[in-house]
Amino acid sequence: MGVEGIGARVARKEDKRFLTGKGRYTDDMTVPGMKYAFFVRSAYAHARILSIDTAAAEAMPGIIAVLGGKQLQADGIGNLICGWMIHSKDGSPMKMGAWRPLAHETVRYVGDAIAIVVADSLSEARDAAEAVVVEYEVLSAVTQASLALADGQPQIHPEAANNIIFDWQLGDGDATDAALARAAHVTEMKIVNNRLSPNPMEPRATLGIYDDAEDHYTCYTTSQNPHVARLVMSAFYNVAPENKLRVIAPDVGGGFGSKIYIYPEEIVCLWASKKTGVPVKWTSDRTEAFLTDAHGRDHETTVKMAFDADHRIIGLKVDTIANIGAYMSLFSSATPTYLYATLLSGQYDIPAIHANVRAVYTNTAPVDAYRGAGRPEATYVMERTIETAARELGVSPVELRRKNFIRSFPHQTPVIMNYDAGDFDASLDAALAASDYAGFPARKAAAAARGMKRGIGMSCYIEACGIAPSAAVGSLGAGVGLWESAEVRVNAVGTIEVLTGSHSHGQGHETTFAQLIADRFGVPMDNVNIVHGDTDKVQMGMGTYGSRSGAVGMSAIVKALDKVEAKAKKIAAHLMEADESDIVIENGELKVAGTDKTLPWFQVALAAYTAHNLPSGMEPGLKETAFYDPSNFTFPAGCYICEVEVDPETGKTQIVQFVAADDFGNIINPMIVEGQVHGGIAQGIGQALLEAVHYDPANGQLITASYMDYAMPRADDLPSFQLSHQTTPCPSNPLGIKGCGEAGAIGSPPALINAITDAIGNNDLSMPATPQKVWLAANVAH
């Protein structure tokens, strides 16, 4: 490893602009003649729209237009769709109801968009939006999924009887039932995975620009995947054909999944720009973000884990009800199915698994992937259950896990996944050592002497990243392939531009990707530029989510680099009159091995472009494109151990130690990886201790619509994390990378809840473990 190469702790190139306020976000974009949009939104969770009167609003100062869903539909703009088909176990396709970008018949959640107001200023738009009179016939609403599927509940979409979108299964039901029947012990739990609001620092925003002269649209938007945005807006929403639509996702301030999807606002602003003849910008305020950004999680699960007399897990049965919200967001069907049930083997060798998942409409914001997406839910089910089983069986939670670990690879689980590499003992051992697990009883006694209840809990997680082999996901219902693309352009002076289909919104790609190139060719990182986020600049790509940009995005770059290197070596061999196979690249030079003949990198690049003396038949130029389609998922795994002290008088939990031992395969930049883990654990602790979206069950109003009621983790809620890495390189991609973006959020919640329940001696505790809940649980114990 060089100072800038693979494995170096290089400070992030992009941080200067982010930390000095020089980032360029969608809301920073201004174009001549630009106007401002404000959306009229439903005040009710469920209602029929009887009439929409815009006359008063249209007469107000500064108003350019007030447009509604009827006009949108008349112009042929389509409904929003979910891009992953799931079939129920009876073979029927999922029951998807219509999501109109602007509702004109029925509204189905508080915040549902009804009309767009375009005005000279934002405050004029907002004033006029207040003057739009919507007459509603209010219908009763239902917000909890397990209630919504019962008889007699409000019916949210005519397509989905009892609000059930699909009733899907995975695994072998008969074998699992047989295992449960013959088990020596069954641990059964009811588990709720709490609903979360994503809260990226930058709220969603979009700027729609229609150019009448060119008949061309430009969409600036806060997207994690601008090409996917363009694809669906062209293919499904009829905004414009792809060649007439440019999507630019400039600096984006965090996404956590919520910016994967296409929302009504992008579509409507583009359409409104054409209708009004002016560029239209919309920026969400924080309240709108709480109301309309796709939420995460919201599962209600029953799990049964069956053990034989020797404490080996012989079967696992899981029944989950997943709240999808009022509409099916872009990948909402995949999150509680193929991103969830496929991870229910955890780190354990389980011969029989069966999962049943019912996805249910409710009168709440759409629910889709949020950091971890399905895998935190699976990990929480597995790791809470095995910890509980250890308590019930009276055995060490460490030994129970060890006894059931998978130790030979590849390992085919009963739920699709084929784990390619891992060493679960290594992470467990590292975490036990780092946490001084053996010394815990003494620390517990010392805490008790101070009147505090100390507890320890662990979680051994595995997740699937590097999404995904295109043919495999296609066979499971995905509407897209999940490869990635890269173009490497070596300029005539030897500097390099890399165009990637990945998108960076906090991950630091401009640094890690440049490190890869610096490492490969020995050129300074400063000579390398990473270009992303613009469909006019970058070839089709699939974007960033599911911790895929290292494993898939960088693998595409490697493939392109291979081609560049091969051509550069041919040119160098020709110029130095040597054999191509003798050329090596070292420290920015091409050398003939075993001689003193060398050519600097830039001279080879220059030769490629002057084309004065190239091997005969060779095309000029040094620029290569590659598409990389992974052969398997990757499987990051690790062990987290959390130690807490609970104040029995108040129920307040303090995290006194948090150890994370992760196997992410090979690591390009340890500092960036640590940052990703820190952020992930902070979000996981947020879920376990603080965060929860609450709707009023009586009327579907969002109660946690601001930070006054939605508790985000703050620095003083968090301990200093102790991190370590164990490395089994991933055999399925050229760099041996597994991915690290979500692990922290996946592995941490069960470790924390296992620790608190250990401290208070009561296992009946749901997330978030607020002081009140912990106090109650601590005081009913014993």
Binding site: E649, G651, I703, A711, L776
Partner: protein, 264 residues
């Protein structure tokens, strides 16, 4: 935010006349509550009269054990006043935990008590300190000043100019913050002095800040953290919301009292 007119007052008199000249006006101090409310369009005054530049309303003075805090003094200035820390460190500690540094450098004691948020910290201190709220026209005892949720004895146009109190022999504050907002989910300010023991509770009462007779009696009998152990706190007059039930708040009232005494 709706459009509004901004006026900068140079003196209390100036503020009074600017205010009465305007149609639907509000005083503005730190703006930490009022501006946020206006941005959410929950308040729409036609005029704002800014009190932040009225010099006479700023600063902390301590003479013997007599304390005067100008209404326009920021939380930061209260928290960092060495003179005040010399006689009543508990109120400095209280101010140092209000909101975040931004809020503490803008928000004022006058704005806080005029607003009388049931979860605000200062009302408990002023009630327990038996403080006097000085306005442009009269002096109001804290017990009479805080009249209900977001309600005070202030009449239209009346300006809080200062608060005064005699620093007691002992004072302590313990706050259990709401996990989301970090306002007091329950905060208890205790004092022991010539006038006896006073225990004032914020964040918990369904009518706002209140004194608790049972706790005061127990602590009068024996000024010690464990003295509260046998006291019953009736949850029936306490708030219940998403974050805390009345029963849980009743528990916190006792625990925070105990800790406030320990800190005093």
């Amino acid at each position: 935010m709706y459009a509004t007119h901004y006026h900068r007052a140079s003196s209390v008199q100036d503020a009074l006349s600017l205010k009465s000249a305007a149609e639907d006006s509000r005083y503005l101090s730190g703006g930490m509550t009022l501006i946020a409310t206006m941005k959410q369009r929950l308040a729409a005054p036609t005029d704002l009269v800014d009190l932040r530049h009225v010099e006479a309303m700023k600063g902390v003075t301590v003479a013997g054990r007599t304390v005067r805090i100008g209404a326009g003094t920021t939380h930061y200035d209260v928290a960092s006043s060495a003179a005040l820390a010399g006689v009543c460190p508990a109120i400095c500690a209280l101010a140092s935990h209000i909101g975040d540094p931004h809020v503490r450098h803008m928000g004022t004691i006058g704005g806080s008590i005029a607003n009388n948020d049931p979860a605000a910290d200062y009302p408990s201190a002023l009630l327990a300190l038996d403080a006097v709220i000085v306005t442009d026209r009269r002096e109001i005892g804290a017990a009479d000043f805080f009249t209900g949720l977001f309600e005070t004895a202030l009449v239209e146009d009346e300006i809080v100019t200062a608060v005064t109190f005699e620093a007691p022999e002992k004072a302590g504050y313990a706050k259990f913050p709401n996990p989301a907002s970090r306002y007091a989910m329950t905060g208890v300010f205790v004092t022991k002095g010539a006038g006896g023991v006073r225990v004032a509770v914020t964040g918990a009462g369904s009518d706002g800040v209140f004194r608790h007779a049972g706790l005061e009696q127990a602590l009068s009998a024996r000024w010690s953290p464990d003295a509260v152990a046998g006291v019953a706190v009736d949850p029936s007059n306490l708030m219940a919301d998403l974050h805390a039930s009345a029963d849980y708040r009743a528990n916190l009232v006792k625990v925070m009292t105990k800790r406030a005494v320990a800190a005093a």
